[in-house]
């Protein structure tokens, strides 16, 4: 990872305004299915928009619409970001 300008990061660790691309989902079962159905598939760009008043859930923009998911669910999305230089 040292030599790459891409950084792997969990969606959960994003800050408001940050964007990145989906690398893979790390959950199994119905939740995984749901996230895929909502359009969180590998390569999709996600903008991490904002965080709810009490720190959770978070708001994303994905495929041109807004989706709210919890941090626990965002933790299941492994992301690639351009490294901030």
């Amino acid at each position: 990872m040292l030599f790459s300008d891409k950084m792997a990061k969990l969606l959960n660790q994003f800050k408001a305004g940050e964007r990145g691309k989906v690398e893979k989902l790390t959950v199994a079962g119905p939740l995984r299915r749901r996230l895929l159905d909502m359009g969180i598939t590998p390569g999709t760009e996600i903008i991490f928009k904002k965080v709810a008043p009490l720190g959770d859930p978070v708001e994303l923009t994905i495929r041109g619409y807004k989706l709210a998911i919890r941090r626990a669910e965002a933790e299941a999305v492994l992301m690639k970001t351009e490294d901030e230089r």
């Binding site: 709810a52 009490l54 626990a72 669910e73 933790e75």
Partner: protein, 780 residues
Amino acid sequence: MKFALVGNPNSGKTTLFNTLTGSSARVGNWPGVTVDKKEGLYKCRAPLALERGGGDNPPATKIHIVDLPGIYSLSPYTPEEVIARQFIVEEKPDLIINIVDATNLERNLYLTTQLLEIDIPVVVALNMMDVIKREGAEIDVAALSGKLGVPVVPISALKAGDARTLMGKAVETLEYWPPAGHNRPVVAGRFPSPFAGLYNDVLQQVMAHGIGHPVFHTIKLLENDAIELLHDTGLLTAIQQRKLQFEHSATIPAGASHPAVDYEAEIADLRYKFITNEVKPAVVKRYRNNSLSQSEKIDRLLTHRVWGLPAFLGILFAVFHLIFAADFLFLKRLGVLNESVPSLGVLLQGYTESLQTFAGEQLSGLLQSANAAPWATGLLVDGLVNGVCAVLTFLPQILLLFLFLSILEDTGYMARVAFLMDRPLRRFGLSGKAILPMLMGFGCSVPAMMGTRTLDNEKEKRLTLMLIPFFSCGAKLAIWSIIVATMFPDNADFVVFAIYATGVAVAVLAALALKKTVFKNNRSNFVLELPVYRLPRIKNTSLYLWEKLKGFLITVTTIVAAATIVIWFLQNFNFRFELLEPGDSANSILGQIGSSIRWVFAPLGFAQTPDSWKLIVAILTGLIAKELVVATMGVLYIPGFSEEAAQTPEGESSLIAVLGALSVFSPLTAMTFMIFNLLSVPCFAAVATAFAELKSIKWTLFTLFFWFTTAWTVSFIVYQAGALFSKMNVATAVVFLLALSITGGSIVYAVTHKNNRKYRCSGCDECGEKCSAGSRRMEN
């Protein structure tokens, strides 16, 4: 013939259904409004005949339109989505009208690619074209139709003309199905080569078994989601073996790191790739989404980290203020005006009240001049008029409440409330999505309880359902109105707000108690689309209000009218069916029944005078319909009053004046009476709905017990604690209730905060798998 409306949540299916069938099913700007299938008859058949060129013989077949709950994919996640998949796959409609939200093409077409795999003709209705036009975006409809291989009709679901064109196309499609150039299915044709071999083998086997919708079921088998084929164990094991064989073969493409192939992700990916790489570039000529950026601006305040929650409370208070405040905008209290201006709700209520007093007087005058028998006058005036009018007085306020609720639902704010409230609610075993049915409970418990179907977790569903009656429904509003107008006219809005707040506070405490006892280990997810804000539509709102008005008038003219007559009889006859002297109603059937269970209610304060059997009867009739509480009070208090008491305030015989003059309540007992009604067993219709949703006698009985005990206990505590203050005035009453809510809140906070660390740690059992998996990956 049956046409099914299928599409993503919030894409406009119900709007189209209403346009097609002339119904007025509930529409709202949030995902999950429709939770059950609903059938209607296509009302306009003539244009179809024209388009078929057979003007003389219009088609004799009736077209039934079925509105279904919204789905994001054919893999159901919540109970209401199961309804949709079952209908599509098992009940085999003749045609699927796939509503696609043109402003959200990518995700909407994902479902379309799945529908194309089912062996049912599909017509795509590209909805929200008015928005596309307004924003200056452009979509090539013909190109879209070419890519999908099915007809696409651009529509705006509200326009009858568009709906007719759509139906014409649908009927035509049925005749020429499958259309020329029809190239479905999308996914199967695009599998990479080793995968394609597997797919073809499975497809062969499925076809050999003679299973309907072979393409659909083949893909579902690959995804391990073939819920319809579970009984066919032979086929399942055969397929499983074939899949294992595939996974162990050397032909797995390089780069697939996982030992087992991730079919679900591969297939979802194929679908989305088809849409983003093939469809969108050819179809979307110009893309603009101003409403999305506009929504973002609005959300800067409404979901702001600091102001989001205060804004929510502010909006709720504003609603109560507009409905109940006698001193609008506090103009008098602030010294701006000398006279207070009533808010809209109070103003309108005043008008209806005087109108009804006038009508009542006219009627009794008429009866007197017609020399009607005294019992007939009694029955009509004392029973019917008093009972029915007592309820009707509050019609304006009830309608206003529904107006505001409907505006909240139509704008898209409801989903934001779920977003704001998810974290606070999670401590109580609920998710933010549970707030949607709860807020609907402010209107009516029945649809609210049905709305719990959108919750994916059975425990959460039950818990939410049990809490819904604590969210004071529209019919109970009449109770609050009558009592605050009698006891707390100057602070009506605050007291009513406090009542609603008490309901919410009790719901929170009860949720916590139930979470710790009955519903342990409740784990839920929260994945919710936030729709763009829309201006409330006058048509939606007025239809909704009209439905409510109709429903209310029907209840009043049937249940309430009949019940008031029965109540009038029961309070004028004793158990030996002898007509009692006026004023002797304590010995009547109702008086006896009410008095015999007075001991149950005596500790709650409002049932301590001998006369208080009337209040108990009112509570009991409330079990039939909550409107009856006030109606019963009207029948039981007003007639006695005009005969016994000499000090009638001039011309006033309304229930408010009577309750005031008779001192039925003290401020404290008024509070406990309201609280008991707020929390106790809801009306019969709601209980029946609860039973239907809980699907279990045991759970229903437990729920009934829970409602009654909560109501009794909370009223008891409030009364006993309140009695400590020798004389309670309004300010203390409100302060007391608020203090109670705050104490309750802090207890809850203290209790739940012990677990606080749990949510941020790694390696707990709340989120164990996920976070340990995540952190391991980070270490690599």
